[in-house]
Symmetry: C2
Subunit: 193 residues, 2 copies
């Protein structure tokens, strides 16, 4: 898959949808073909096998690369600017996590079963962790003195992963507006008084 | 399974171990029998079928019930007492989450595939959410004025779920001592100045 063709993307999307509903193992190439409205042979022609298809799905949809490409530059000239820089960064992560929550969850769900895909599956987590850590480090002059960056990173990341995945599971109902309020509170508590 | 016999527990433990390694779907009763050192017939005699075996595994090992049974009584007579009450509560959750992280993860991993087990699978999450919310409500007199309880709940819960599951995945190395430090920082930030 050099350039992602329309067909290839349709196949990857069908794969994601079915894998989310029934798990990767039970997602046969035949079912993918049916869902995508293509011939099963087309799948093998483009992706060779299911493992490669999975790898391409991660490559194409996983937030890892986009997280790494995020232009982080928190303006610490005022507390308000710092605060809004942190909020923007978290909202960015939320937006891309929410697009394909199943990719984050399948990192958990199927991690042990696909050892050759460990790097792809762990990438978004490490990238997100690094981005939040960097954001807090940049914001540090305006944060509470002596704040523990690693602790704050896991509180913010945890807030994000838990709310996004619980909403995906149907365990939590939270409007976007309310989520934004909760996020702002989580940031405010880190800011210097 | 009226009373959990030694054999029954051995079977449930074998199930958990294999389900964690290869997923629930691929964990056949034959493999469970082999792992537990029992005859496959014994499994059917005790548990009838795999779905019931899964239900019993949740009943027996899942932290939900123990979370509900936790005697929460945060002593808010001093800030130090309040702080240590919150820390104890979080350490309790961490201890029972760490015992069988695969049960928490399989709630994510296999949720959509086992709709008849939704209540069992979601129970620990709702119970943990409620416990942390209650703990923060009890502690409120010693917390920052105007603190957003729901936001703080998801920060603390998120911290817990993310660190426990990432350690289970091998994405994060953190000693217990360091985890305790990070947790204390996460609590300290909530306390009134």
């Amino acid at each position: 898959m050099e350039k992602a063709s329309q067909t290839a993307i349709r196949i990857l999307e069908a794969f994601l949808k079915l894998a989310d509903e029934r798990g990767i193992k039970a997602t046969t190439t035949r079912a993918i073909a049916e869902e995508a409205g293509v011939n099963e042979v087309t799948i093998f022609r483009i992706f060779k096998d299911k493992e490669n298809l999975m790898r391409q799905a991660y490559e194409h949809f996983s937030p890892g690369k986009r997280i790494v490409a995020y232009q982080l530059a928190i303006d610490t000239s005022t507390a308000a600017q710092t605060r809004s820089g942190l909020i923007e960064c978290m909202k960015f992560l939320r937006t891309i996590f929410s697009e394909h929550p199943q990719l984050l969850l399948s990192g958990v769900r199927d991690y042990r079963r696909f050892s050759t895909l460990h790097d792809e599956m762990a990438f978004h987590a490490l990238a997100a962790c690094q981005l939040v850590t960097q954001a807090l480090k940049q914001a540090a002059p305006m944060l509470r003195p002596g704040i523990d960056i690693e602790s704050a990173t896991f509180s913010l990341l945890g807030f994000l992963y838990t709310t996004v995945s619980w909403q995906h599971q149907g365990w939590l109902q939270m409007t976007n507006e309310k989520w934004n309020d909760r996020l702002e509170s989580a940031i405010d508590i880190l800011m210097a008084p």
